[in-house]
Amino acid sequence: MLSCRGVGKTYRTDRGPVDAVRGIDLDVAAGRYAAMVGRSGSGKSSLMAMIGGLSRPSAGKIVIDGTDIWSLGDDAIAHFRNRRIGYVFQFASLLPTLSTIDNVALPAMLNRNSDNSDSYARAAKLLGDVGLGDHFDAYPSEMSAGEQRRAVIARALINDPLLLLADEPTSDLDEQTESEIMALLLAVNRARGTTLMLVTHNLALAHEAEQVIQIANGAIVP
């Protein structure tokens, strides 16, 4: 489902180029739960961003479900991100000026061929599934961090993605909320068969993963 070959990322800084990710080869089968672990600054988030179509690699190729994503043009890769990939970021990533249901429905409505009433119906169901059935009209500022993260998971699932990327999704949450969010992500992985890639520096969270990818200094540790 996911194949990375020779993927590298070099950032240009005032002090010269910095190799954040170096020649990574990686395969993840469809429906798997893979955890990417490593210390802060090891390059795991950079790799995740390249896999998610958010950051262009300096080298290598990333193929998702048979599509070499970085060979696509601007609009095509935006469409690919929209239809095939869901994201849960390590920060509260809801648009503050939209209600919860608008936030969740937005990715579906960005699609040219979407039916808006269907988008809102799906958003309502997903919000119900993540336990926010009574928060449709709430604005992000009116919800707790855990509730916001649930809403983000609902948004990530609105287009029924093949790949769900979660970049340290619980880093700013308390222990109990962290457990709830992780349980929700695993439920999505198991119930829907959505491939889940989790970036974390918490080894305990990676414990349940079917595949653990250890990253250090921008490379996979064998």
């Binding site: 961003a49 958010l54 991100r81 929209n82 239809r83 648009l95 960005l110």
Partner: protein, 410 residues
Amino acid sequence: MSGSSVPRWLLGSIALQNLGRRKARTGLLVVAVAISSAMAFTGTVMMRSIEASMSVGFSRLGADLMVVAQDALTNITPALLTVGPTDQTVDADLIQRANVAGIARSAAQRVFRTERSGFGGHEESVDLISFDPERDFTVQPWIAERLGRAMGPNDVILGAARNLPLGSEIVLFGKPFRVYAQLARTGAGTHERGVFLQSASLIALAPAIQMQTGQWPPMLDPGKVSGFLIELAPGATELQVRFALLSHLTGIKVVTGGSLLTGIRQGLTALLGGALALVALMFGSTAVMVGVLFSAIVTERRNELGLLKAIGARRGQIIGMMVIEAMVATGGGGLIGVIFGALLLRLFERSLIYYLTQMGIPFLWLGTASAFVVAIASVLAATLIGAIGVLVPAWRASRRDAYDLIRGEG
């Protein structure tokens, strides 16, 4: 966005709500654009009105120079240069051929004095003066009253000394003409008792004149005219143009009018042009300000834009959202500015203009339709300034990787 309108509405809604998030900043932006827009609207309407008032006042001052055949008679009054009746002619393309710099406008006239036109008393001397309505600037400004339509080939304009009602019929060499308008008093005899008609109409009378008088007046030859009235371009001097004409052409006489009036006219025309340039400059500086402001706004919202890109918003949608936001703010400012400008104009009307009118100085307001066009143009210009100002920062942001935007880089 080529699909449903709801995403566009939703992105538009995000844009509007973004404006609401920073009320003070949005308010300042709207006020800045409103001030520019109010100044542009009020300034343009006032200047156009002053220009219209001046064009009546100054065009009545007639020509700056007159070019006639060397032996022709001329009249010079404090207000008006006029060609006197004469058989002397010059070529109709004389001025065009001379191609002299410093001439803003030139108008040809044919003047034919006759006692056998059949108009007026028995063998009364009548000056038939023809002009080209498209190029004329010395006859029509003197019109005191006219019929409510454009002048046609079968119409005549009468000098102030001829008392006939508008719309009445007169006959010249057997051909009927309608009295279209009457001039105000000019002080120039030729004008006072003249009968003015279009050049083609006078030329068309030539065969009838020949039948009546046995001669074909030389100035009725289509290639000839009695003389030219010339208005100088701003900056040009009478001496300069006179010298240039005399050095290019032979057998002509160049008559000059009052140089003081010429100077005033040229100075005020240049001043109006400068004031309009200032308005344009002010709009330009507002566009730069909007651009700088939106560069800061885009930088501040990199995270949000990156997030939108991450969930699948295309570059066009990102740019569109920012452009909507800017256009709403600056368009709103433009509208407020125009409303404020209209109130200012009312204030002028009730104060300064009222006193000018009381003093007998005519002030012609720009027509309502034209003022409305200026208002719409001001709002559109303000809206356009927003769109242009935000375009570069939005375009640059849309090119960045979503991850760079989310991390607050780029």
